[in-house]
Assembly symmetry: C2
Homo-oligomer: 233 residues x 2
């Protein structure tokens, strides 16, 4: 496998994918073309508009973007792609569409067989066994919360630390993830904005400048330094 699984597409004060483009270009060895999966539709934008947004970013490194929605057979598009990018937005929308079109298994097969994969936010969320640690609103009912499972732990993207002086009584992210661990055995990696997971063959590393927060059933959460292996999480 060769994947970049990123917390977010965009960090504060810079353009779409800007902080990751050089890394993408090097890691995936100057990719000529990428198959874009726009189903998560951030803010409800159309597949075409979203694909254009990806194209505007990728053209800076000379990579052509083709939206999966423009193919007669999205399954065949996945099977034939050398490089696939799933963008962020609403994870429920994304997963519902992938299940309904029967693309979850073909996508998993492609990635585990070596097709390069880039995910951001919702596109990273689906790399875990389930989407049960998404932050998104359940705006549609998917036939299942199961996802790719190319990682054996779940991702919580855009991970936010509890605000020490907050007066808000809604649950913190940490509380929510602990509730998840009451119901599930899967570990969770809280991936802060600007962090990503680099999968290269058998190696899995945390990358970016920040540490990540690890949540496991029946133990206290802890910090994991950047450039640490994620094997065994």
């Amino acid at each position: 496998m060769k994947c970049i699984i990123a917390s977010t597409s965009t960090i504060y004060g810079s353009g779409y994918l800007a902080y990751l483009l050089d890394e993408i270009n090097i890691f995936f060895n100057k990719p000529k073309e990428v198959l874009f999966i726009p189903y998560a539709r951030p803010g409800g934008i159309s597949h075409d508009t979203y694909t254009q947004k990806a194209q505007d970013a990728f053209e800076k490194i000379g990579t052509k973007v083709k939206g999966i929605h423009t193919y007669d057979s999205p399954e065949k598009a996945i099977q034939e792609a050398k490089f696939i990018f799933t963008g962020g937005g609403n994870t429920f929308l994304l997963v519902k569409k992938l299940h309904e079109l029967g693309l979850m298994l073909p996508l998993k097969k492609a990635v585990t067989n070596g097709t390069f994969y880039l995910g951001t936010s919702a596109g990273s969320n689906i790399c875990g066994p389930t989407i049960m640690t998404t932050n998104d609103m359940p705006i549609v009912y998917p036939p299942s919360f199961n996802s790719l499972g190319i990682l054996n732990f779940n991702i919580n993207p855009h991970y936010l630390d509890p605000l020490p002086n907050s007066t808000h009584k809604g649950e913190t992210r940490e509380t929510r993830i602990k509730e998840f661990l009451q119901q599930n055995k899967v570990s969770v990696l809280g991936l802060r904005e600007g962090s990503w997971i680099a999968v290269n063959g058998q190696e899995i590393y945390l990358r970016g400048e920040l540490s990540a927060r690890v949540f496991k059933a029946a133990s206290s959460p802890y910090e994991l330094s950047t450039n640490t292996s994620l094997i065994g999480l």
Copy 2:
């Protein structure tokens, strides 16, 4: 119907239900006993612990609390109760349990036939047609996102305004609700902490000190003053 549907059980700096107890006592005419539904299990606490927490609050107004989990037939408990309280926690857990035990319809019937109802947070979320505007993490997969539908609009509890100077790139609450409205026709009431909806027969009013934010498909969100009728939302 006679209901208090509150954004939160607890406001900053005060105890569980403290800000609402006097209102509950007056509105429901000094209730002697309340049937408590603890299935949302905030922070994963047990049904017993959660019921004790409710009891500790309600004893200040002389109301006895009985947990629905202590009855052989929870359906019969609902049918025989004069006053039902569903506490907050994780909405997915709550709804999964209500569906699995076949309690959604009996609860709807009871409330529409006049059984007093108090909901906070997740217990308020289920008063709309669906739970699709919950803030909670989907830690379990419920058989449906449909809920009581005793209101004809959805609730977003713990509503938070966008932070003007935030550097976080995760979606704001407003963005999430707009994504919901791209996929659904149901209006959404963003209910700030300390606000509640009072249903009394045919009347439905926003109560508390704050305004609420209304989101409708194909129009801009707007503020609704407190003590305004919610009929026709």
